[in-house]
Symmetry: C2
Subunit: 317 residues, 2 copies
């Protein structure tokens, strides 16, 4: 569930644009006014604001924001203002160009979005980068990672409720056998993870746990230093427990040596309108401190205010 | 270009439905009336007819047609009446379940449709088969064919006009090197064929021809019995000269030992509204006989009449 708070009486889009324009005017910039508006409008409303702003002032709102703001605060506001599919296309492209075996952004986008959302990302990618997402991913990756990532970013998984239990059992067995043989890059193992519906996969992995005594991710931890194994575990987590995956990304971003603001910005801007409530619950359970407090302790100023505005949620504080 | 002829004054959809109902009524069935209507309505009109028919008579038009018609004629009418994406999903599913290394239907659908069309096929596949297309393809294929087919059916190629000539040159070189080494299942060779835009690929293959002296398909004919090489050649043809690919399918269907009606039906129903005019030109150039005459000589009755109605085209006869 979303933590976005949209006021009951939303000002008209014209009014929002005028207020934003006012926030940019004169010597300083009124950052709090920008937060008050943009951090409390949903994706459709932001899209309309961007459209109306461009029509009224002859400049893309993102350009105006870019001129007025700076550093982490600027990045957070820009990422948040983008349309979700455009934003994911942006993150995916960046991840592709700077790809390293411990960069899981592509995997995260491919596995935690719905099939339709992922397709919209691919459309937005065409429009913005004049290439296809899978084309860039295939070009910039190699070996086992390519074998895993290309089908993941190209997937259009079925999303109905049907589960084939016979198949779940037989595929759990295949997974277990391949993992026992340390054949982690096995074609069928990758086929199962990259093509089955999330519900079907969940049944398969539950059966795996019941039948073979361990959750699959425990068995995939045979060599903790192996980056490909880490990627497989991340994929499993994204597909079955996305809130746990995101909790860990936030935890590492906050607890690491120096805060990883870009990871923090990514998770907050991409999840607050989707499942930030569950991520916050998971964060609290795992860290015994609320995400709000953790973010407050690690960030400051307008950047802190922007992130908190996005994650505070329904009447909590 | 399409060879479909829609009358200048199209009867209302209600009228069309009444006429179809009349064609089904009484003892015999009025096959010619069915052809006169359905074979002269475009995809949008047929869709509306099917919808209105179901609303008016409480039965899917496809069910009524199935009751009234039989054999090759029935199959042609049913395939034609389906929405293009549904029809492709049907052919793809059949090809998946009966997959053999010389069945190129999957490859044909993946490589000759536009990116958007292929995506609509994947959506229709979900709706009808409760699984994803790539899931079924991956499950039913193995080895090199899987390596080629899964990314092909999952592709969403960029369709803009941009060509990167530097890339075309470097990738032509990669292709040539891999083919020289007989590394036909090489990852990069498959990556290039399955992810690059058709326009980019065309530039790459032109450069291949200019630089290395042969069209790529000639070099891919090193072992004429190798089915995987044949599949690669078919993919290249579908991506760059679809009308030549379809001409050959038609030629083999007509000239083989006994006509392959199902292949004939597939090509006529899927292409008459798209590029049948080019396919007919190509057919005539290659066989010195018109496609109309060839089909007339090899088919008869209502089936013949249905196919001819779909391919005769603008004022020709």
């Amino acid at each position: 569930m979303s933590t976005l708070v949209v006021p009951e009486l939303v000002p008209s889009v014209t009014e929002d644009c005028e207020q934003l324009r006012k926030a940019f005017a004169g010597w300083g910039t009124n950052e709090r006014l920008i937060i008050d508006i943009l951090a409390h409008r949903n994706a459709a409303q932001r899209k309309l604001i961007r459209k109306t702003y461009a029509e009224t002032y002859g400049e893309d709102l993102l350009i105006s924001l870019d001129k007025e703001l700076s550093s982490d605060f600027e990045k957070a506001v820009l990422m948040w203002t983008l349309d979700p599919a455009e934003r994911d296309a942006f993150f995916a492209n960046e991840a592709t160009r700077r790809w390293t075996s411990n960069n899981w952004v592509l995997l995260e986008i491919a596995c935690t979005r719905t099939s339709q959302e992922l397709f919209l990302v691919r459309q937005a990618y065409h429009a913005r980068f004049k290439r296809s997402l899978e084309e860039d991913v295939a070009y910039h990756t190699t070996g086992d990672f390519r074998k895993l990532l290309v089908p993941l970013v190209s997937s259009y998984r079925y999303e109905g409720q049907e589960v084939n239990m016979t198949l779940a059992k037989s595929e759990a067995k295949v997974l277990h056998q391949k993992i026992s043989e340390k054949a982690y890059n096995d074609e069928d193992l990758i086929r199962i993870l990259t093509t089955r519906s999330k519900i079907q996969l969940n049944a398969t992995l539950n059966h795996y746990n019941d039948e073979f005594g361990n959750p699959i991710n425990k068995d995939l931890k045979a060599d903790p230093k192996d980056q490909f194994l880490a990627a497989l575990r991340a994929a499993v987590k994204c597909l079955t427990y996305p809130e746990k995956y995101f909790e860990k990304v936030l935890r590492l971003a906050i607890n690491g040596l120096g805060t990883d603001e870009w990871a923090l910005t990514r998770v907050v801007t991409t999840r607050s309108e989707v499942d930030m409530k569950q991520i916050k619950e998971e964060y609290y359970r795992r860290n015994s401190v609320t995400l709000e407090r953790a973010i407050s302790g690690d960030t400051s100023g307008d950047y802190e205010a922007m992130l908190l505005a996005l994650i505070i949620g329904h009447g909590e504080s």
